[in-house]
Symmetry: C2
Subunit: 469 residues, 2 copies
């Protein structure tokens, strides 16, 4: 049995590694406290655990150098994108070296005929789409925050467009990965599909940096649709909005986005973005296609909404109106704060089969009310996925306790409805305890066997997803 990281490495080992990194990277490695602090978990309430140093590599070869020296001295390596994850993914519970990929932010190639591109992991979603603007193509996955693509791959991110364009698992063609031994693997070729061996691309998507550091990403792109129409549709109840969503999906309407905001979230939008909406459950929808196609989709959706007492539908036909609408939706996290200033925002997500969605959301709203909490809800309802933005006064221990118990019930509720403990945020540290409730023991055994097979020394982002014993 080889050596195996189970506790914080010795100060001597850390000092040796940091000295070697300084020799190679100079000012691109730092132990500055404030920089280290921003590389710990800073969003939501997971307690921050800063790394011992942060290094800013610029090439795959540099990442390999870092990983090799950390492997030699059993020092944790924590991959870092933009730090917008919610469940403690970038924390360093055993200390170690945060590998910040922000200087690996080049778009290496755009293949317009193949509808794909090759990028470095530090490219952010917005930067990529800015780069693609002239090509008529775009990258559709949109989790809201301007996350790095490396982070989005690693958390299997999805977001508002997933109902039409899929999640990261559906839009990554190939990866270059520095493995925990410092070797470099590529998971696939640029062909659109392959049956050539185990699907290592999908194994790395959602692995949260526990199996290696992604240093190059080949992504599928989509054509910018000729026509886009978006709008807002009020509903008398969450159930009516969910039922309209189910029928929309079932009818095969290729809706690009269909997002629920509950009455409290609509109130938050009004306060934060001045939308001036009726405070009732709303669906934000968007259609992509040809002029005629979009018109037809919108008509059909209007009919479906009406069947469930929804409407009238308000269109945002101008691009600037559309942008304002989606900006408001993306600001759900921030707007929630306006409901209870001074609170900590705790964002979490679950996902259930769409047939159980209304029930799950309604029960959750009742639970929020009974618990005396403030927690608006937004949902990627086309996927059965919804988010809670729970507002917690961290100075009130009772409230913190109430919030914790409530979040626990939320996950239990989702699992009881054949759902998952996280639809798109990932496991990180906070949801490790739910994996064994979600899966039978044999499944966790396989996850641990894979972790042990690829990272036998347990240096890659230790303390996330599974723990080796």
């Amino acid at each position: 049995m080889m050596e195996f990281l189970t506790q914080r490495p010795s100060e001597a080992a850390l000092a040796t590694v940091i000295a070697s990194l300084k020799a190679r990277f100079g000012e691109r490695v730092t132990t500055n406290l404030s920089i280290r602090s921003t590389h710990a978990n800073v969003l939501t309430w997971v307690a921050p655990q800063a790394p011992d140093a942060v290094v800013f590599p610029e090439t795959t070869e540099e990442v390999s150098f870092i990983v090799k020296i950390c492997a030699e001295h059993l020092i944790p390596v924590i991959p870092f994108g933009t730090g917008t994850s919610f469940e403690g993914h970038v924390n360093a519970p055993l200390g170690g070296i945060s590998v910040d990929t922000s200087r690996m932010a080049k778009v290496l190639a755009v293949h317009t005929e193949d509808l794909d591109c090759v990028i470095e992991p530090g490219v952010t979603r917005k930067a990529l789409n800015e780069h693609l603007r002239a090509t008529g193509l775009f990258f559709p996955i949109d989790p809201g925050s301007d996350a790095s693509l490396g982070g989005m791959v690693s958390t299997r991110a999805s977001g508002t467009n997933a109902v039409r364009y899929g999640t990261m698992k559906d839009n990554v063609l190939a990866l270059k990965v520095v493995l925990p031994n410092g070797e470099v693997m590529t998971t696939a070729r640029r062909a659109k599909k392959s049956s050539a061996g185990y699907d290592l691309t999908r194994l790395m998507v959602g692995a949260e940096g526990t199996l290696g550091i992604i240093t190059e990403i080949t992504l599928r792109l989509a054509g910018i649709p000729e026509a886009i129409s978006a709008g807002l549709c009020p509903f008398p109840s969450v159930k009516a909005a969910c039922d309209a969503t189910i029928l929309t999906i079932q009818s095969g309407l290729p809706v690009a986005r269909i997002e629920l905001a509950d009455e409290l979230q609509v109130k938050a939008f009004n306060i934060h973005s001045g939308l001036g909406l009726n405070e009732t459950p709303m669906l934000f929808v968007e259609f992509h296609g040809t002029d005629r196609g979009v018109e037809e989709q919108a008509e059909r959706f209007g009919e479906i909404a009406q069947e469930f007492g929804g409407g009238p539908f308000e269109w945002a036909t101008k691009p600037e109106e559309r942008t304002r609408l989606w900006q408001a939706r993306h600001d759900a996290y921030w707007s929630a704060l306006s409901l209870k200033p001074g609170s900590k925002v705790i964002a979490t997500d679950v996902c259930v089969p769409i047939s159980r969605l209304a029930e799950c959301v309604v029960e959750t709203q009742e639970d929020i009310k009974a618990s005396g909490l403030v927690a608006p809800i937004v949902g990627h309802v086309g996927d059965g996925n919804f988010h809670l933005t729970l507002l917690c006064d961290m100075d009130q221990p009772n409230e913190v306790e109430t919030c914790r118990a409530f979040l626990h019930r939320l996950v239990e509720r989702s699992l009881a409805m054949e759902g998952t403990c996280t639809g798109e945020h990932g496991v990180g540290q906070e949801k490790m305890k739910y994996l064994l409730k979600e899966h039978p023991p044999a499944t966790l055994d396989v996850m641990r066997a894979i972790k042990r097979a690829i990272d036998p020394a347990n240096i890659m982002n230790p303390g996330k997803i599974v723990t080796l014993t």
Copy 2:
């Protein structure tokens, strides 16, 4: 280091296991030679290697019993669906027990609101769609042959609808798997998406039965489109047909099927199915959507085809005409035989980025001609994937040698164009030698590490994808 299967087990060990199986399964286990022979590879030229016995389990628990007893005695276990794979997947190079899933053919649940179903692995594609007929839903993945869904999962199958509906990797929500130690894991919940840990679903999809036996499958379904239109469009050259395909995809036309047949394949269709077509490259296309949407798509496609000298477009508006057209397309394998009766049909596939497709197909046609071979081509061109149906007189050693060398060049050509050695058929035995050409050594090391981690005794379908050393 535990014991590890590297050679054919002893006759004594086999006899012990077969006796135990007979005690439990009675007539559902057989050593009958003709049944064993049909459980070896029988299509294409990979030499058949029959198992020592075939067992027909009916439940997950029975599969677990079989695997546990085989694990105890280090006996190979070879999962079997319908035996329609091409690259030797079901062969038993070290002997062992073929686990035939044909009696596990129940549709366990159809969730119309969630657009999913739960089935046993022996359900075939056609049987599933027959079962779904009344629901307004269908399972879109269509590899041509009436394969079992378990086999389709295991080879990461795709086929004619993949350009719109994705491949098996995109349409499996969850799996129940008997692991090589006999334990049962479920890979995911029924939620449409999840970020809860490593993607074991995708790891099993395409694992070709080397990591476990699939005993339950949760599949995504699609709504049967309101309108379908299909037709044929002749082109002056393969390049023109490929270029029209690229522009179709790039324009975001949501074509459901776009299939190339080269001039020789069209000739074969004429002989086999009496289609009476001009013997020039053809695209078979199909559009799914609303009445207006389909009409619009077809119009646009017609304009694109014309730009590249294609047309006139011939519509098959009646369902029976459409069925005839697609039946002809699906009979490509059999129709090819009519070009050179008495030959062995050797089916293989490669996949390249679509921008290289025309070049790859044209070079391959020139190679066929220069080699004096007969090999019509069909292609899922929207994905850059094409199939060769090579006709080989197995009594002529020189021709066999020429065919082998040609197939080798085909894979090399695909790899040189950033392609893969197989788009949808899988690795099996025949393409193992190409994995190391396709991927760097570190990638193969990871594949082997995963195989070793999950199947340390090497009993699950040994001699496929990777070899442990």
